[in-house]
Subunit: 244 residues, 2 copies
């Protein structure tokens, strides 16, 4: 008997941001797989098997989930935020492409509140005009592609959300990204460092890009760079709807 | 006595995608304001005043909400999707900037599942790599800015989510946008037309950009254009994590 595979987004951290759809899927699961800190956010219950793995093991995790589903289990893979944004959904379809024998397994992707939306909400409305999202990790793509996108994003006057800005194994990227944007004339733009949004450790800092330093970010930080018209009103940052 | 103003996202349509945080805010509200079809999604209850307005009246609605909050009410403005993405949050901060007397009103922005995330989830994982979101409405910005962003987004090889692709008053924009992307060499890219996602009228169509026609979209459609590496596995569309 074939089971099912659900790829679910847990939102940014606060349980009040988990959709009822995702909660229902977790309530019916036999097996939950994910990076350990995300699996730790799933309510424990008798009969629910939890499978934790390292955050670099996306493809192995996807394969294990497909195998468990093929064996008849109700499997949920969890991501933080939204599973389709730099998270597990793409890894599952990659694994599926390599495994035609599993392509009849019923799969659902359940969206969630991705980090940039939660960070933007805490800061105001910095994504109220056209914007882009760039994963600053070069584990799976050449750094040159990131540089090119940053330059073109600045030229397009997009607000820019930077995911995975910094990690212990990639301490250099964010500094280089900030340099590229300064060289592109974005020094006066407003930058938001949103740390651990919606958790007890939440911290939101805003400043001009000229003053931003890479040490202000870690892997729990989402960085948003405003467009050229982004401004402050009181403590809030917003992108005017009439920006050019 | 000062009230409060909450700017809340109702998600794409399905009640199972409304976050518990938003449901709690609606449960405590005295007044809910919004475009009529969104207000119609708020559960009615005794004592809750509903204020509907036209979808071009964002700034007037924001002003009315601030006035009601200043008078001591618990006011919620609702948007579809996420309130920070081409929706009410930016309009509220614009109204607030023009009205210093209201700048002490406690404001909260509650994020939601924005249309592109729900559309992407239904289609697979087309936003699994770097992407951008462009509002195709030129009501509040020059069309030239949209054209420039489309060209640069193609050059950057972003996946592209197009919000508000078409309306009765703007029948031309999407055709011009598709032409620009074809001219930029994107004819072979996969395009997703996601109509009324998560509602009873949901319809997902995928094709090559060369075959896309503007009549395939209306105001309830979200269009996602894949990057150059986006591919299909079975009925699913996904952006490989290792794309250049």
């Amino acid at each position: 008997m074939t089971g099912t595979l659900t790829i679910a987004g847990l939102g940014p951290g606060d349980a009040a941001l988990v959709t009822p759809e995702v909660s229902a899927a977790l309530g019916e699961a036999t097996d939950v797989l994910g990076y350990a800190p995300y699996v730790a956010r799933v309510p424990a219950r008798e009969g629910l098997r939890l499978h934790c793995s390292d955050n670099r093991k996306e493809l192995e995790r996807a394969g294990e989930a497909l195998r468990l589903a093929a064996d008849g289990n109700s499997v949920v893979i969890v991501s933080s935020g939204d599973p389709g944004v730099f998270a597990m959904a793409a890894a599952v379809f990659e694994a599926l492409e390599a495994a035609p024998q599993w392509q009849d397994i019923p799969i659902r992707v359940l969206p969630g509140v991705t980090a940039m939306l939660a960070a933007a909400a805490r800061a105001g409305a910095p994504l109220g005009h056209d914007f882009c999202a760039i994963n600053l990790s070069d584990n799976l793509k050449p750094w040159a592609a990131i540089e090119k996108r940053l330059r073109l994003a600045a030229e397009a006057d997009f607000a820019i959300a930077l995911y995975n800005p910094r990690s212990a194994s990639r301490p250099e990227g964010l500094g280089r990204a900030l340099d590229i944007l300064r060289d592109a004339g974005c020094g006066e733009r407003i930058v938001i460092f949103a740390h651990a949004v919606t958790t007890a450790k939440e911290r939101i800092e805003t400043m001009r890009l000229a003053e931003a330093r890479p040490e202000m970010a870690d892997m729990a930080t989402l960085v948003i760079i405003g467009n050229s018209a982004t401004r402050k009103v009181g403590r809030w940052v917003y992108a005017p709807r009439r920006a050019s």
